[in-house]
């Protein structure tokens, strides 16, 4: 199944894989969202039962990575500057991989269905916790990552959970295993 509304420019090189969770209750709600004009989305979606949907061509970029964190700060190769994620991202995107984290330009995105909970309550976003990735989803993720790394030549150390590379809820994909 391919939803072309999320495909962007051609992707000429793949330097990494980013693992996400959807923050939606079902695969259907995510797939419906992919039909919006200019929608954000990732290349693959793993449903709760482990079903894998390919939602974009691997030859096309999708907008899934978001604002980049500084890789050299996280790897302790440079000193952190004053907190400003927008400036941080602008400094990063002009770098080449692997000096920066994989970006929309050169990474495959894998979404796993799962929500940050509790939903629709007075609990602020900063306290919500993503539900655990289940065994069926992790088995599918392992199979998919194995195939992608072999086919595309992406090293395992260039596979990241979304909050590692971008400022996202720290529990997103924290229980994903590949």
């Amino acid at each position: 199944m391919r939803k072309f509304a999320i495909e962007r420019d051609a992707m000429t090189a793949v330097h990494g894989i980013i693992v996400h969770q959807t923050n939606s209750p079902t695969a259907t709600s995510t797939l419906n969202g992919y039909q919006r004009p200019k929608a954000n989305g990732a290349h693959f979606l793993i449903d709760r039962d482990g079903t894998i949907y390919q939602t974009a061509s691997l030859y096309k970029q999708t907008w899934h990575a978001g604002w980049l964190k500084s890789r050299c700060v996280l790897e302790k190769r440079c000193a952190p500057s004053k907190f400003n994620p927008i400036r941080e991202h602008k400094r990063e995107v002009v770098k080449s991989a692997p000096d920066r984290f994989p970006s929309n330009e050169d990474s495959i995105g894998i979404e796993i269905v799962g929500e940050a909970l509790p939903r629709g309550t007075a609990v602020v976003d900063e306290k919500k916790v993503y539900e655990s990735v289940n065994d069926a989803q992790n088995n599918s993720l392992k199979w998919l990552v194995s195939g992608l790394t072999t086919t595309l030549g992406v090293p395992l150390h260039e596979i990241f959970r979304h909050p590692t590379i971008s400022r996202k809820n720290l529990t997103e994909a924290s229980t994903a295993k590949w």
Binding site: N23, R36, K38, N40, W67, G120, A122, E126
Partner: protein, 147 residues
């Protein structure tokens, strides 16, 4: 006289059109979510209950939330300028922050809601019994927000 009255009614209908028309939302962009007008009743009172709160999810001891101190006036301006991010579209473009402030707001129509904001100008508004509204204010360029 009848013609003039008909003209007045016609102008009245035209003027009323934007209220009933579909909200003018901006489309998603690579680094910005879709945004729709946030239509709220006039604000009567804003209370700040918690400032500079560090998320329990944050494990980095160097993260310092102490600068996130907001005032009722700032939150009033925030809620006046903020846009609503349609549910399901905010996941990848909005920045998550481990610092937040929160409180309540009372509106002229008698309803109240809980609000929260982060340093990165992302917020939420929750009316009793209604789904959470995600807010973003790209024009709120004043401290303690970071832009």
């Amino acid at each position: 006289m009848v013609g003039r009255l008909a003209l007045l009614i016609l102008f009245g209908l035209m003027a009323a059109q934007p209220l009933s028309a579909k909200p003018r939302c901006t489309p998603e962009r690579e680094y910005e979510p879709a945004m729709c007008p946030l239509v709220l009743p006039p604000i009567v009172h804003v209370a700040v209950e918690m400032n500079a709160v560090k998320s329990p999810l944050e494990t980095d001891p160097s993260v310092d939330c102490s600068e996130l101190v907001v005032t009722p006036a700032l939150i009033r301006r925030y809620l006046t300028r903020a846009k609503q991010v349609p549910s399901g579209t905010s996941h990848s473009q909005l920045l998550w922050d481990s610092c937040s402030a929160s409180g309540t707001v009372l509106f002229k129509d008698g309803r109240s809601a809980r609000w929260s904001v982060s340093r990165l100008r992302v917020g939420s508004l929750i009316f009793d019994g209604s789904p959470e509204m995600t807010l973003y204010c790209p024009t709120c360029k004043e401290k303690p927000f970071v832009w």
